[in-house]
Symmetry: C2
Subunit: 474 residues, 2 copies
């Protein structure tokens, strides 16, 4: 049975069940997404203030078989937050649920509502002399609910794990409107199925996360940053192994940047200061977070020296100040902006087993070269095996010139990744962009289980319809 | 519809579908569990060699509506491995699937089959100069499949997390017999619902785990161990905070032992050497794992001094040799054996928010004292908020004398734990022992979701019937 639209009649019927001003006309920002591939069709957005109001909204939608799309910061890159197809759904914005409900420094736990912006959560942790380790480029806008629903990654995964690893408990509204009061602050709790991790990463298709008990970590006493020039991605991996042998979990970030990354920064953002006169072929940005009594500069200089001695590293700069460290990170974090300005034909967020990575990089380049004289900017979270592998037109060309090859480029990269045991969505999720990829590359038994779980928890199919799993026909 | 028994007729029909010698009469060891509370009724045990044979077995059981109980090392403490009620199920032993399929030291990954014994997995990791961090008293017998199915805990959770946190990918057979080929060696893979974490901790009720891609960690260059006497559990928590401020993730274990623990060891195992003339009221066993360049003895002596200065610690011993460190651990690891010899009336595996722990300990003692002159041995993984809180008869009495109060004692402790935001199963799971507790204390929305998921993935209810969720009537 198809869904019912969240039209003006539905809004009129819903309005008396909720506090005044909960329902508003959707604004243009609610109907857009960063890559401009889809436009939402919703007329109405609900802005609840409490989990009880979320429950009332979901219950009303379930009764009326109206689709519901949760809306956080709107920064997702795979279209999980806009529904262009099917009857227009109601948008459920978490904008008004932004409280940090509690901070427990001695427990290393914070309870935050789903609408809290990541940067505010980080700041609240810092205020209690703790670290909330999730960190990514959109942290000034992205909200906790969306970050958890997409199991976001970022630059600290190597040491602290993905969003999933930062969560102890959840409060959520399930697709029938029931509230799950699961905000446990426990490190160990083996009482039944792992509903927490099922909702995390489900991209709003199995319920609405309304709050989370988040793990905090001790703040490293000192951090240090270096840019080290390496001979190849293989050398970068050997350097990572060396760094972890010496420093264990204290390696917080290990990011790969290729020559094309530096070239693109110079082309699109010429005012950014670059540390090397010519961009090196391959380079890693290493960050350490150390406890008291250890000096990060010494540790990085020792790593540099060991890397030189092992023939892995040929050049490098250890940041001599917080400011210089920030400049290195600015370079890394502006690569996506440079990419946007130049305009990718096709962008890929892939991961590979670490051992497969050195072979993947040249093989991918060779296969793309066979399709045309394209430029490839391959960079990312090397320590996690996660590369952002983006294909651009030749210099002087535009992405519009090459739209015809877009699908073939994507297929070429994704087939290779799949063949090598990798994932075609490392950290961005499936959303609406990769539904067909999931069908093509996903394990059939897992897909069947996913469909069974979706049908069991959301029989009417109201939760974020069309995301992750294809809309049923009709 | 009720299940069909795995009787001789079923065995006769099944035999031709499998390689010779796959099906055998169940042995007595298959029908027992460590606490002696239940006896299994199965006549037949299947011993498959491959995931394909597991798939054939599950398919046959699904077609015939025959229950199936996966059997690993048989060390579970909540009866998850024996089915005393309902038509006798087929046992599925993983004894023949013990291969370490691959070790990838550079990736920090190992692929092991479900029947591999934990100690062998640890040893294989050590052989590659890596650490497999899961560690618990039964590691010489417990097998990977059971450890993952119960999301086992142990002594290293503080630093490395539960069993769940040690897994990157799974191979499993789902209740319809389909094989899920999910042995990904990826740190980031956001392609759909988290089936991995749903199977981990499901205690064999949603499928059979046949192999896992396990995370390895760099081996600490040096470890150090100390026993520090603290004034109270609250002081122990403050000391933990101090230790983590100084040493971050390098605190590998932080175990609480109370005076009753030392008394029981002296009473039941008088040959064990004890470091203190009289057992201190409260004591913590601290272990550090440090990278190169840091000296564990110095670090522990500094922690000892800081604890003294802060008024948290009153006495202590820093182990001066590997042998002395092993003696400290021997004490800790023999507490369960001492408990068994003395005989608990009721044992509880509970966890609490860390901030609630200092109030829980005296309040629990007061409530137990109101029921009678019982002895309480409260010990465990303080850093995880996980206490083993076991209630014993007065000296000279036996547990048989107090069976009548057993339920009331359990209820008293569990009610208090629940009231304080804790869990009545921290690391042992639900099994058959705590089905009623889960019904009493579990969140209704979560329970409803669990039942819906079970019905969706295992509509005939063949997988470990009666574990976690109650058998349907009839």
């Amino acid at each position: 049975m198809p869904l019912t639209p969240a039209d003006d009649a539905f809004a009129a019927a819903l309005r008396p069940r909720l506090p005044e001003d909960t329902l508003r006309p959707a604004e243009p920002r609610h109907l857009e997404e960063p890559r401009g591939r889809w436009r939402g069709t919703s007329r109405w957005v609900a802005l609840p203030r409490t989990v009880q109001e979320v429950s009332a909204l979901v219950t009303a939608c379930a009764e009326a078989r109206v689709g519901l799309v949760p809306w956080g910061g709107g920064t997702g890159l795979v279209g999980g937050q806009v529904a262009p197809d099917g009857p227009p759904p109601l948008l459920l914005s978490l904008d008004r649920m932004t409280a940090i409900r509690a901070v427990h420094p001695r427990e290393n736990v914070m309870v935050a509502e789903a609408g809290a912006v990541l940067a505010d959560v980080q700041e609240a942790a810092r205020g209690a002399d703790r670290l909330f380790a999730l960190s990514l480029a959109s942290e000034g806008t992205a909200r906790i609910g969306g970050l958890l629903s997409t199991n976001a990654g970022g630059v600290n995964v190597l040491r602290y794990g993905n969003a999933r690893d930062q969560v102890l408990g959840l409060e959520a509204v399930l697709p029938d409107g029931q509230i799950w009061h699961g905000l446990k602050r426990l490190r160990k709790d083996n009482t039944g199925y792992d509903l927490r991790n099922l909702l995390i990463g489900a991209e709003g298709t199995l319920g609405v996360i309304t709050a989370a008990a988040l793990k905090l970590a001790p703040r490293p006493a000192a951090t240090g940053t270096a840019l080290l020039v390496v001979h190849s991605p293989a050398a970068a991996l050997d350097l990572l192994a060396l760094a972890r042998d010496h420093l264990g979990e204290m390696v917080s970030a290990f990011e790969l940047i290729g020559r094309m990354g530096f070239d693109f920064l110079r082309e699109a953002l010429p005012d950014l200061r670059q540390p090397f006169a010519t961009g090196p072929e391959w380079c890693v940005l290493v960050e350490l977070g150390l406890p008291r009594g250890m000096d990060p500069q010494t540790a990085l200089e020792e790593l540099f020296a060991s890397g030189l001695a092992a023939g892995l590293v040929s050049d490098g700069v250890v940041a001599q100040s917080t400011q210089q460290a920030a400049e290195f990170w600015t370079l890394r974090e502006h690569i996506p902006e440079a990419n946007r300005r130049i305009g990718a034909i096709s962008s890929h967020d892939v991961s590979l087993p670490l051992e497969a990575l050195p072979a993947f990089v040249p093989e991918g380049l060779a296969r793309i070269a066979a399709l045309g004289p394209f430029r490839v900017n391959c960079f990312g979270h090397l320590g996690d095996g996660n590369l952002h592998y983006n294909v651009f037109p030749p210099k002087g060309g535009t992405k519009a010139d090459h739209q015809a090859l877009r699908e073939e480029i994507k297929r070429t990269i994704h087939d290779l990744v799949h063949q090598m045991g990798g994932s075609v969505s490392a950290e961005h999720g499936i959303g609406r962009l990769k539904v067909a990829d999931l069908e093509r590359y996903g394990d059939p038994a897992k897909l069947a289980a996913m469909r069974a779980i979706k049908a069991a928890l959301d029989p009417a199919g109201i939760m974020n319809p069309g995301a992750v799993l294809r809309l049923p026909p009709g």
